[in-house]
């Protein structure tokens, strides 16, 4: 069963008194273990698709199914719970909370899920160690390198053990070495049974994905198929 399924999703924005349709009956399905890169020119609707998939933006039409539930049929609070439990976000700008240290930023995700605090602490320590941040546990984001910030954001995204990881240009601000480390993490996540949908402009990053799709006139088309690299 697909972790994420979009069927005939349409989304339009109003602009200058008219409507600009960015997604036209977009359809996709992400099975466990899928690592998909989504490419397309700026304004093609890549981020919109990601937000719809992440239950942040309701489509105008079509159907979204996440972990067997229809998030947009749920009340806002229930949808937030579903998001906290099933979805992890990684952003190009990291979006760490500036006044929390690495450990606290990672643990911020557990507030949303309402999970067991001790278990969360334990998992946070594991993730911090796994991403090579042990020496930075009590450092603020302003004291970290960009790579460390992105790894912190990754640890935060993985804390609640989601089944879907949505990454929006996760390597956009990173040097090749740091980018490689992040892509390795995403790949590992997919290999462990999760599904990854990564928006990227970078061909190199896309090449690390199992499959690459592109958005053309609001529709998803399979662009290139490439074997996942470990």
């Amino acid at each position: 069963m697909a972790i994420l399924a979009l069927r005939g999703v349409t989304k339009a924005y109003s602009k200058d008194g008219g409507a600009v349709t960015v997604l036209r009956e977009a359809t996709l399905a992400l099975e466990p273990g899928a690592f998909v890169a989504l490419r397309g020119p700026s304004g093609a609707g890549k981020s919109t698709l990601l937000w719809i998939a992440g239950t942040l933006l309701a489509p105008d039409a079509g159907e979204v199914e996440l972990a067997g539930q229809r998030p947009y049929a749920l009340a806002q609070e229930a949808r937030a719970r579903l998001r906290a439990k099933e979805v992890g976000f990684v952003f190009q700008q990291f979006h760490l909370v500036p006044y929390l240290d690495v450990r606290e930023n990672v643990l911020a995700a557990t507030v949303a899920s309402g999970g067991d605090r001790d278990a969360a602490e334990h998992r946070a320590a594991e993730l911090i160690e796994r991403f090579g941040l042990t020496g930075r546990t009590h450092h603020l984001p302003s004291e970290l390198s960009t790579g460390e910030r992105q790894r912190t954001a990754l640890a935060r995204a993985l804390l609640n053990e989601p089944r879907l990881l949505l990454a929006d240009e996760p390597t956009g601000n990173l040097d090749p070495v740091q980018a490689d480390a992040v892509l390795m993490c995403l790949s590992d996540f997919a290999k462990q049974g999760g599904a990854v949908l990564m928006v990227t402009h970078s061909l190199e990053s896309a090449a690390r994905a199992e499959r690459t799709w592109s958005l053309s006139e609001g529709r998803i088309v399979e662009a290139v198929s490439a074997p996942a690299q470990g």
Binding site: S47, L56, Q76, A80, F91, H95, A108, V111, D168
Partner: protein, 416 residues
């Protein structure tokens, strides 16, 4: 997370706390000042009242001592004698037995020092063709149970006559001269100086001779009791009670005494002083009411201004934290959790502001009200501040917090 954010944006928190502190300081200060003022007024009135009462007690004691030493005079008259006639005529028309004077003297009458029985009549001095007042007097009657005292008035010896000023002046009589009165011969014993009253046309002779002359044997119409002393302030009532026990068919009136006037003056002085104290109390009460009226609009105004300021600060804080809130929403934080982020900060702002404001207001209020700091401390007021300030801050933050919680995370992420 709330404490981390407070530590991260100290200025925002300090400004909010300052606003709450000012509001709570004004509240605590106003109440403490009013309470200090009330305590001071109570103390002042109690002190003044005690002072006046002590003065009154001292005056009462002084009066007792003074009047005890001075003594005063009482006129004992027949019970059926109309006092109006006595005042109009200058003497009593009715008579009573001379024996009454002896009875008084022979009892344990502790309040009277001297007893002078007399018989007085107005008559025409036939030999001189003029109206005179004839007074028969026998001098003092010795009082039983008393050590002998120097007589306050000398008796007129038998066969002698004492003349008032107008009589001896107009008749040219000198001590030692012989004069006839209603057919009897008397030798002038003494001439009185001018007194400017009825005494100037009065003739004094021995009581027995007067009774004989007026054909009223054994009768008198007054007993003058001189230098009456009592331990208590209400002496007249005490003397009346004593005399009425011994001579039931007589009446006693105060005669040429200033003691009553003095006592009245003392009472008036005390009443006046108490009135002054009461007036001062009312004045201070009025001042207190005026200050209460001022506080009644000033304090709520400051509280509202403070609430508005806290609301603005929280609103500014939500704008600063748009990206943070958007990402937290993306992570799955629910609206209530976002609202709590801001409300908890506002509650902390209110609680710290309440503590600081209370201490400031309490200290200033007590200092201004010149009250003891501990006496002016009101735990209920502290409790009210600790409840009111966080509540106020929470109410003021409610709308900005709701606005923050309702923001669209996509709008934030779109900025990337």
């Amino acid at each position: 997370m709330v404490w981390r954010e407070i530590a991260h944006r100290k200025l925002n928190f300090v400004l909010g706390m300052l606003a709450v502190s000012i509001a709570m300081a004004s509240l605590a200060g106003a109440f403490t000042l009013l309470e200090s003022y009330r305590l001071r007024t109570e103390l002042f009135v109690a002190e003044r009242r005690a002072e006046v009462e002590a003065d009154a007690a001292r005056m009462e004691d002084d009066v007792r001592k003074i009047t005890k030493n001075l003594g005063f005079n009482v006129l004992i008259l027949p019970r059926d004698q109309n006092l109006a006639d006595v005042y109009a005529r200058g003497f009593a028309e009715k008579t009573m037995p001379e024996e009454y004077a002896k009875r008084l003297a022979n009892t344990e009458l502790i309040t009277v020092n001297h007893l002078l029985p007399s018989l007085t009549r107005k008559l025409v001095w036939e030999e001189q063709k003029r109206t005179i007042v004839l007074v028969g007097t026998r001098g003092e009657i010795p009082i039983l149970q008393r050590s002998e005292k120097k007589p306050i008035l000398d008796a007129v010896p038998k066969g002698k006559i004492v003349l008032g000023y107008e009589l001896h002046r107009q008749l040219g009589l000198q001590p030692g001269d012989t004069v006839r009165l209603q057919g009897r011969e008397f030798k002038v014993h003494k001439n009185h100086p001018a007194r400017g009253n009825q005494d100037d046309i009065t003739v004094w002779i021995d009581l027995a001779e007067a009774q004989d002359l007026l054909e009223m044997p054994g009768r008198i119409n007054a007993i003058l009791a001189l230098q009456c002393n009592c331990a208590t302030v209400d002496r007249m009532a005490e003397i009346r009670a004593e005399i009425s026990k011994i001579l039931p068919d007589t009446q006693a009136v105060e005669f040429q005494s200033q003691a009553v006037a003095r006592a009245e003056a003392r009472k008036l002085a005390t009443a006046k002083a108490l009135q002054d104290v009461e007036r001062e109390r009312k004045l201070q009460e009025q001042t207190r009411r005026d200050r209460e009226a001022l506080a009644a609009w000033l304090v709520p105004l400051l509280i509202l201004a403070s609430a508005a300021w806290v609301g603005l600060l929280v609103f500014g804080n939500t704008r600063e934290r748009v990206a943070e809130v958007g990402v937290l929403r993306a992570l799955g934080w629910r609206s209530a959790q976002i609202v709590w982020l801001f409300m908890a900060k506002a509650l902390a702002m209110g609680a710290f502001g309440a503590g600081a404001g209370f201490v400031l207001g309490w200290a200033l209020g007590a200092a201004w009200g010149e009250a003891d700091l501990r006496a002016a401390f009101d735990p209920k007021l502290l409790g009210a501040c600790l409840v009111l300030a966080p509540l106020l801050a929470a109410i003021a933050s409610w709308l900005p917090a709701q606005r923050a919680a309702g923001q669209d995370p996509v709008a934030v992420l779109r900025e990337d």
